[in-house]
């Protein structure tokens, strides 16, 4: 694999992630169902996570572990930080989604609907 291919892959990853973000935004902004909005948010999250991973991606990289014999391996290592970030972000996203779903249950009980434009008792 030459360097161009790596760039192509990188661009592919970026493009995919941006596409995901846009799809998610589309869902959030146009879908009336609360569930779909939450799904949209999750898709955005997914896109962003992909973006993060893409940054740290190195073709044929090694695990980011310093160990005897690999002292100078840092050039070959996959950047560990984005991965750590993504892991954290996934957890957070999970938490938020859970809360959101719980709220949706409550909303459904209260309003008997899942349409977001029918749930606006609080306004102005």
């Amino acid at each position: 694999m030459n360097i161009e291919n790596i760039e192509i892959i990188r661009i592919g990853v970026y493009a995919t992630s941006i596409l995901l973000i846009l799809i998610g935004l589309y869902a959030v902004l146009t879908k009336k169902s609360l569930i779909k909005i939450i799904i949209g948010l999750s898709i955005i999250d997914g896109g962003i996570h992909l973006l993060l991973i893409g940054i740290g991606y190195i073709k044929n990289g090694t695990a980011p572990i310093f160990s005897p014999g690999f002292e100078n391996a840092s050039a070959q290592m996959v950047d560990p930080v984005p991965q750590a970030l993504v892991l954290t972000a996934i957890v957070i996203g999970f938490g938020v989604t859970a809360v959101a779903l719980a709220l949706i249950i409550r909303l459904y009980r209260h309003h008997n609907t899942l349409k977001i434009d029918e749930i606006k008792n609080l306004k102005w």
Binding site: T88, V96, I104, H110
Partner: protein, 500 residues
């Protein structure tokens, strides 16, 4: 050294997990532990803060790794000041809500205190962390606990408020993450000091884009104009003490994150048009929206948003005087708004539909609560000799020094609007006849709530009569914010470096 700044985050987090466990043994512990924790945190934070004022910034490195490898906590005159303020307000909120839901249910109180602990921990974390991703995590902690607290009451519209908050919060969190990605991809670091040191190596196009995403990411917590749709709903629907926690703690953290980003991270010096514009719009829209509110808490929420707008304007001036004024405003707002929410929620509690129009004559029946509300209103609209006046005066003198006459005029006009809606409420509470059809026979505030309110009221009076009591602190804090090189030096020179 009395302790480490880490404890400021670790202890409440730990407490949040211990509360349900210890609650099994003795239910009262659920209420007592948060108080102990917050009280200890206040003392710890205050003593650390005094240390900081005497000896200089404390930079705590987690696991001993120097930035940029390790995450570090920065306890400087500015962050220390805010952390102390937050822990103190947290303690007052605990004092106020000590017997919250006592007679109703144990579970509810448990949840409330767990999330309150998380909220405080997260907010302190936002302030004292030196790492942007860490800040993101704390913002999310605050967010999740805030959603939960907003949705605390069942059977009302609280879930709706929480859901709106959640949508906006999630979107902004995504934006924040994008900003972090941008910075990381360009600079390869997440440490604020290091970013600040290298920010000018970043291509301007990226820099500005990152900043925009940052503004959006933090803007939801900081309640800037188009991103604050959640705030009135959440303040209205959340329990009273939670409203004051939002106004007194969460927003402060958000504002801090924003100005830290602008001043330090992106190392902007001089006036920041963007902050001034956003702040002015926030101020005007919020205060005008507050004028015709039917519900008291919603009115208070808009007022809170407006005040934050003013804070941003003051920060946006970028001068020492402006920063001083902004911090002064934050301090006063952190004291006054909880007082208003505390007393206001008793007023709301005694009106059947939560409407302002149903609070007629409550002042005679609950004199202390009403007096505290009146005091808070006087202070927040900036009538001397109460605390709010001096901060407003500082803002105006700062603006005048920069020649921003139009801003002075608008701020003052908006203040008139503010006066109108606050005084309408005061008039109604005091000078209208009590009506049984609309109000319930008052539930008197409990002693602990009265003490909490009294402490805040005394602070308002002390600052009002003797504003110099806080001016030194604020001076140090504002110098700290403006002095980016020192921040970088302090952070990067502490802890061990990564060597093999």
């Amino acid at each position: 050294m009395v302790g480490s700044p880490v404890l400021l985050i670790a202890i409440p987090l730990l407490a949040a997990f211990l509360i349900p466990l210890l609650g099994i043994f003795w239910k009262e512990l659920v209420r007592i532990i948060p108080g102990l924790v917050l009280g200890y945190l206040t003392i710890l934070s205050a003593s650390l803060y005094i240390d900081v004022l005497n000896t200089g910034t404390i930079v705590e490195t987690i696991a001993g790794w120097r930035a940029p490898w390790g995450i570090n906590l920065v306890f400087s005159p500015l962050t220390g000041f805010l952390a102390t303020l937050m822990t103190f307000i947290g303690f007052i909120i605990w004092l106020y809500s000590y017997r919250f839901k006592r007679n109703v249910e144990f579970e509810a109180a448990k949840k409330y205190f767990i999330f309150l602990m998380l909220l405080v921990a997260g907010s302190i974390g936002i302030v004292i962390t030196g790492d942007i991703f860490n800040q993101f995590v704390f913002i999310e902690i605050v967010g999740i606990s805030a959603y939960a607290l907003t949705a605390f009451y069942t059977g009302r519209n609280s879930a709706e408020a929480a859901f709106k908050y959640l949508i906006m919060g999630s979107l902004s969190a995504s934006a924040l993450l994008i900003a972090i990605i941008l910075i990381y991809s360009q600079l390869g670091t997440l440490n604020m000091a290091e970013i600040a040191a290298n920010i000018h190596n970043m291509p301007p196009q990226y820099r500005v884009t990152a900043m925009i995403f940052f503004i959006i990411g933090i803007g939801v917590e900081a309640e800037i104009f188009p991103l604050n749709g959640w705030a009135p709903d959440a303040y209205t629907e959340a329990p009273g003490p939670v409203g004051s926690a939002f106004a007194g703690i969460v927003v402060k953290a958000g504002i801090y994150a924003m100005v830290r980003m602008m001043f330090t991270l992106f190392d902007i010096s001089g006036p920041m048009q963007i902050l001034i514009i956003i702040g002015m719009i926030t101020l005007v829209v919020a205060e005008t929206s507050a004028l015709r509110q039917v519900q008291l808490k919603r009115m208070l929420a808009y007022s809170s948003i407006g005040q934050m707008g003013l804070v941003l304007v003051a920060f946006g001036m970028g001068t020492k005087a402006g920063v001083f004024a902004a911090l002064f405003l934050m301090l006063n707002h952190a004291i006054i708004k909880p007082l208003l929410f505390f007393s206001g929620s008793y007023l709301v509690f005694n009106s059947k539909e939560k409407n302002i129009s149903e609070m007629s004559g409550l002042g005679k029946l609950m004199p202390f609560t009403a007096a505290f509300f009146a005091l808070g209103s006087f202070a927040i609209v900036g009538l001397p000799p109460f605390a709010g006046f001096w901060s407003k005066l500082s803002v105006l003198t700062a603006a005048a020094n920069d020649g921003l006459l139009l801003i002075i005029a608008i701020v003052l006009l908006v203040s008139i609007v503010e006066i109108v809606y606050y005084f309408r409420v005061i008039n109604r509470i005091y000078f209208f006849k009590f009506d049984k059809a609309t109000s319930v026979v008052p539930h008197k505030p409990r002693v602990n709530a009265l003490i909490a309110m009294a402490i805040l009221a005394i602070l308002i009076l002390v600052i009002g009569f003797y504003p110099d009591s806080v001016s030194e602190i604020l001076n140090r804090a504002s110098e700290d914010l403006l002095n980016t090189p020192d921040y970088i030096k302090n952070v990067l020179s502490t802890g061990q470096s990564l060597t093999y």
